[in-house]
Subunit: 236 residues, 2 copies
């Protein structure tokens, strides 16, 4: 099964841009009349029948909608500091999208080596990962913000978890998830240099629970994947 990305237009049409259409027509040799599966990132799986089909753009008629295709029992907002090496951060983005998250927030910590971050590439990578793993719900990629700003903006009613390295009272993430029935989880992962004590104090004050990710010393991107997979594991 192949999943194409486009948007809902007027009058029950589904529209594909030039890039997607070129792939559809030139590589996969689709033509008018073909029925294909499509997503617009909202979570719905569309079945559409191609009407006009060219490498410059295509239009299709929506013939079916499955609103339950990507329904998940949990929601994850993953805030993680961009790593110095962009490739590692992008691998992480791909992996967590395959597993299933709702939003990715690049946060800049006081000790972050990378202080600026451009989201454009990550959005393309997550779209590609969603299509490949047949996910119709595309994770949102937020614009970067400081860790402290993120902490202030986190919704009150989520289960909020901060994983930091320096000494402190922490539950394992598994225990923290076991103790809570809240399916909305916010995960906050620090940079290679760890969160600062000030950032951790602010998080705890805002209701974040301190967690550790087991005895192994994990890279930032591995820690993020580990945390997401802990949630996924609970609900599998």
């Amino acid at each position: 099964m192949e999943l194409f990305y486009g948007r809902v237009g007027d009058e029950n049409l589904f529209l594909f841009d030039a890039e997607e259409s070129a792939h559809m027509v030139k590589v996969l040799r689709h033509k008018a009349g073909d029925r294909i599966q499509a997503m617009d990132g909202s979570g719905i799986l569309y079945t559409v029948e191609l009407q006009e089909c060219s490498p410059k753009g295509s239009a299709a008629r929506i013939v079916g909608e499955d609103k339950d295709w990507d329904r998940r029992e949990y929601k994850i907002e993953l805030a993680v500091c961009p790593t110095k090496n962009n490739e590692r951060y992008e691998w992480m983005g791909e992996k967590v999208t395959e597993v299933g998250i709702d939003s990715l927030v690049p946060v800049i910590g006081e000790r972050s080596e990378r202080k600026v971050y451009k989201t454009e590439r990550m959005r393309r990578i997550l779209l590609s990962a969603a299509k490949q793993s047949l996910k119709t719900k595309l994770p949102q990629v937020m614009e970067p913000m400081s860790v402290l700003e993120f902490i202030e903006r986190t919704p009150k009613n989520a289960l909020k978890l901060i994983a930091y390295c320096f000494e402190g009272e922490k539950l394992s993430i598994r225990e923290a998830l076991e103790k809570s029935s809240n399916p909305e989880v916010v995960i906050l992962i620090g940079p290679e240099g760890d969160f600062s004590p000030k950032e951790v104090a602010a998080a705890l004050k805002a209701g974040f629970k301190a967690v550790h990710l087991g005895p192994s010393r994990l890279r930032t991107e591995t820690a993020a994947i580990c945390a997401v997979m802990s949630v996924y594991n609970k609900y599998m």
Copy 2:
């Protein structure tokens, strides 16, 4: 803390080869008299005092041994089919080493796209990952073998899990781990084209339990990481 790799020599000496010594001397400017931490891959953390130190090779005196540094409650043998794209497989090797496994077996499935596999690069990658994550126990990388051969050679008393995609009666890996108190786990992950029914039948006959890795459609390398992290999660 930096971890250096070498081997135990005669008379309580610890020896470093040219490559390691060059890094030690030229980059980190170590000299005779310095105390450093070292590993030989056995699991022991050595504290050694440099005696002779040159870019061509170094020798140190062992002054301390910590046998518990890398003690883990579980053992994992991870057998996974090499992916068509080598980089993905190597990235997986790095991640599972950070988390902690005991051996990696490249297995060739009937439906594998990649039928040959050279282990040399992977060994270097796992060593680098072990050093970076301060693991003194280096996972073994076995020479490739067929899936059927691997199934025959698996020890009887481990908890053996096979994750395949086609329909069948399966527990989630979390449930399979919950039901067992066996800390020795063998994980078998198939190629992009899945295991063949013949391979799955052979595995089940040899005592493997059929598991799934949740509702998401995971790439081979992501499935391997997910399975390893499920074990890690249980014991964290």
